[in-house]
Subunit: 149 residues, 2 copies
């Protein structure tokens, strides 16, 4: 049995936070870097976010600290139903996902589904798409797949 | 103000789990690799573990999956007082820390303490030492410092 993802390179550590400006400041101070821009994810028209198979209007504020191969992604959800909000409500500020850039989203999702790991949330971003997988109970962390065009 | 750690390279993602053999199997299956050996951390005589400033006899079972720059570290604590057990009790199976290999443990701990981030747990391992910092509330994840001889 091969690698179900088609890669073994972790590229992101995603942390859900309550106040992204406050968390961004703390990370920037620790790393001795300037504060990265905050971006807001697109609404449904562009992002086509689905959460547990249903349309979601959820958005999130994001910012990234690039640390070699891995980026720390800070995520402040907007309160609407999403994997981000659900994780924040259940566990407080904490690591919500680790991400892998996969060669084929379709293949990786099919392989993981066959192994019992279903998709929780999907969405589009400029130049690609993501999927969060239900891997918390088996792997101890949610896996995010990223596919770039 | 410079980088308080002396590095910006994340080298580990540490996940606390209830049953390391079960979690190891799931990770190995997803990554298409053989199951890595499980090691048990040393007892107090060697590890000199301190948790909140007091001697701790806690140990943990560990195993590592190397994914490029970053290793996934699975950690099964033994029930005795430790940051590992505390995290597992509070949050269930989840990411407990991210680690940075620092050039100087002493300097990094001093810098972080001055910024309000105190040390929770320390210990020795063959060839080096570690410290967990109280950064969950400010950074959304516990930071571990590793210093190798």
């Amino acid at each position: 049995m091969g690698n179900l993802l088609g890669t073994d390179q972790v590229t992101q550590i995603g942390i859900v936070v309550k106040d992204i400006e406050k968390s961004r400041k703390a990370w920037a101070a620790m790393l001795g870097v300037s504060e990265p821009d905050i971006i807001v994810t697109a609404g449904y028209d562009q992002a086509q976010t689905e959460y547990h198979g249903e349309r979601s209007d959820a958005t999130a504020k994001l910012c990234f600290f690039h640390l070699g191969q891995v980026a720390i992604e800070l995520i402040e959800p907007d309160g609407k139903p999403s994997s981000w909000q659900d994780h924040l409500d259940q566990f407080g500020e904490s690591v919500q996902h680790i991400a892998f850039v996969v060669p084929s989203m379709k293949e990786a999702r099919r392989n993981l589904a066959e192994a019992g790991m279903e998709t929780i949330q999907t969405g589009e971003y400029t130049g690609g798409r993501y999927a969060y997988l239900e891997t918390l109970k088996t792997l101890g962390v949610q896996v995010e797949l990223l596919e770039n065009d």
